[in-house]
Subunit: 384 residues, 2 copies
């Protein structure tokens, strides 16, 4: 069926790209991915897989010219090429200017400040030397959070510094320093927006992090917070997506401080790990929602079907090599457990191999089942 | 991730094969299809698409040898090849012997009789002549339902006969004659069974047919019947799948007579149009359930999430040519509407181009919305 659906291109072909392709399949959408890895997660499910580097100007330009709408599953893409494509009439979501801001943590923090969006106090430094001189002149105090301005992803490029010696070991790059705040909870809100202005906000989720690997550990939806606080978090999410003037998705990670304040930690203008539960636990998944938003189609219902708990299936510590899943029978036998694997052939400690979403009529049931499964599910290799 | 999942092959690559591939995608399953049409619905979503004829002995044999488990999305496959593959150690579900019975309506009816499964009274004839002589010797009376023993699909090969002249126009093939019964409702039950014996039965659905095209018109889940009757229909479904000793899926279409009797109309040992709603309206879709069952993995929860109404998106009368969907905005704006398109490029009157499932907190809401959408959604072509 030829229809009013548009040809969509995605920069990146990882698990987020894969789940976008699956969401596009019921509509038989034409969906192309640009990704250098022939074995990437999205490859088997995209209509077309173009080998190329989404960081490369020419690759992105050439790819973008073959589609009607271009979007991303990773921020680290070539923004100059996106600007060029936009000038040529290709629809690009999110806006290249916003990507440029979000790619740089200094610009991102300054954006919040400029738009009166609450965020932890910060200082920006262009190199290590200026950071050190600020430290030795007492303008910043330990402990503090150091964030590389560029290229942070999944906890890489973020360090909590407690001693002066650690400062000496930092790489010489532009960075943002935040005073360490006391966090009561980490929350996330996924919000969608289409060019016509319609906005849809999913229920607030609560995240707990595993300090060892600094990767999302377990995520609960809805968050165990008061209705007023949930409403405030959603309102902040709407304010943020409107300030960025982004169409598509915006995942907003927030801190709830012990004094009850909501502070924006960071945002991602794309599908996000913190909203994977929407595949089963919401009426419309974040992936389908993005496909609707970028085509300026009416957004789908964000209604939560059931409470849910999601955790990433990570490579088990001590195993590196050809991946092998242990615990499949347990997963399949568990009421409301939904397994997602990303098709990665090689496991290593803490590598994101997939995720598991547990839905249940009551949140505590989902949590209990998740914690049991989390112990039973392992990604190992035959070699150590 | 290499895991305990098996390599699965599907005979047929139509919309049912497509939806099986989509269900397999979150697990990153290796799923191959055998289908002669390069543009078939499943092609973009299968790990491998082998061009070949599922009716041909050699094609099926060669294809089957490349997988660990073989299943079907259409009954009209080469049974001899499946028997051979089974002898070679390939796991085949449903059993080839059952396929041979179900492919032949005479054998199917005799099977019900032999196993005390309730079905409308019938007589079998090997050719037209024997049917005519039975009619002229008053052994059968008008009106009656004539069914071709072989090759019926979607209403083709079924006729309601009212006059002797019509008998003269019948094709000269083996057939089954049923006395016309007075139907209160048409029901369907989908049941899944795995080799270990575990069975899962979905809620009973109610179907209404469109007499013009003899294709499923609208389907409501759960059926508007008493709990006792629903329990009886489910029990009959379990009795039937156990009698056939089938693993995988069995869709059982039933008549509820005006006297309150349940009669089996026909069965399909595969995913079925009457259970498409399970994608959104049940915790586990019929497609994922089949993938679990054939691998002898624990079956998923059949819990109904919400009441639903499903209808097929058919080619609009009067249009033949390159298909064009009208009403996309309406669908997307409708709460709980889920569109599925099968990727067929050419439309013709009544061709199954896709389906739409409406979920809602109350069945009557889903029905109201479905009836509105049914009027607004059209598959047309620019040419007439």
């Amino acid at each position: 069926v030829k229809n009013t659906f548009k040809k969509i291109g995605i920069l990146g072909g990882g698990q987020l790209g894969k789940m976008l392709c699956i969401a596009a399949a019921p509509w038989h959408l034409d969906i192309a991915i640009l990704e250098n890895d022939a074995d990437c997660a999205a490859a088997p499910y995209a209509t077309r897989h173009i080998m190329g580097d989404f960081r490369n100007f020419d690759d992105v330009l050439q790819f973008g010219r073959t589609v009607e709408i271009l979007t991303i599953e990773i921020e680290a893409v070539n923004v100059a090429a996106l600007r060029q494509l936009e000038a040529e009439g290709i629809i690009v979501h999110p806006r290249p200017d916003v990507l440029a801001i979000i790619q740089d943590k200094s610009l991102q923090k300054q954006f919040y400040q400029k738009h009166y969006l609450p965020t932890a106090d910060f200082q920006c430094f262009t190199d290590k030397k200026s950071l050190q001189s600020a430290f030795y002149s007492d303008q910043i105090r330990l402990p503090f959070v150091w964030k590389s301005a560029q290229g942070g992803y999944d906890g890489k490029g973020v360090q909590v510094l407690k001693t002066a010696v650690q400062i000496g070991h930092l790489p010489d790059v532009a960075c943002v320093i935040e005073q360490k705040i006391v966090i009561a909870k980490e929350l996330a809100v996924m919000v969608a927006r289409r060019p016509s202005g319609e906005i849809a906000v999913y229920d607030v989720v609560e995240m707990q992090f595993d300090d060892r690997a600094n990767l999302l550990d377990i995520q609960v939806c809805p968050a165990d917070i008061s209705p007023d606080l949930a409403a405030a978090a959603k309102a902040l999410a709407i304010q943020t997506i409107e300030a960025f003037d982004v169409c598509g998705l915006l995942a907003i990670e927030m801190f709830l401080t012990t004094s009850g304040e909501l502070l924006i930690n960071e945002v991602a203008p794309r599908p996000h790990n913190s909203a994977h539960h929407t595949i089963e636990a919401a009426e419309t998944s974040q992936f389908e929602q993005l496909l609707r938003a970028v085509q300026d189609l009416p957004l789908g219902s964000i209604r939560t079907r059931l409470p849910s708990v999601m955790f990433n299936v990570l490579g088990t510590i001590g195993y590196t090599g050809e991946a092998h899943l242990v615990g499949l029978e347990h997963i399949m036998a568990c009421e409301g457990a939904h397994l997602h694997l990303y098709g990665k052939k090689i496991t290593k400690p803490y590598r994101k191999m997939g995720h598991l979403t547990l839905t249940a009529p009551l949140a505590h049931l989902a949590l209990e089942r998740a914690l049991i499964l989390k112990k039973e599910v392992r990604v190992m290799s035959y070699e150590l």
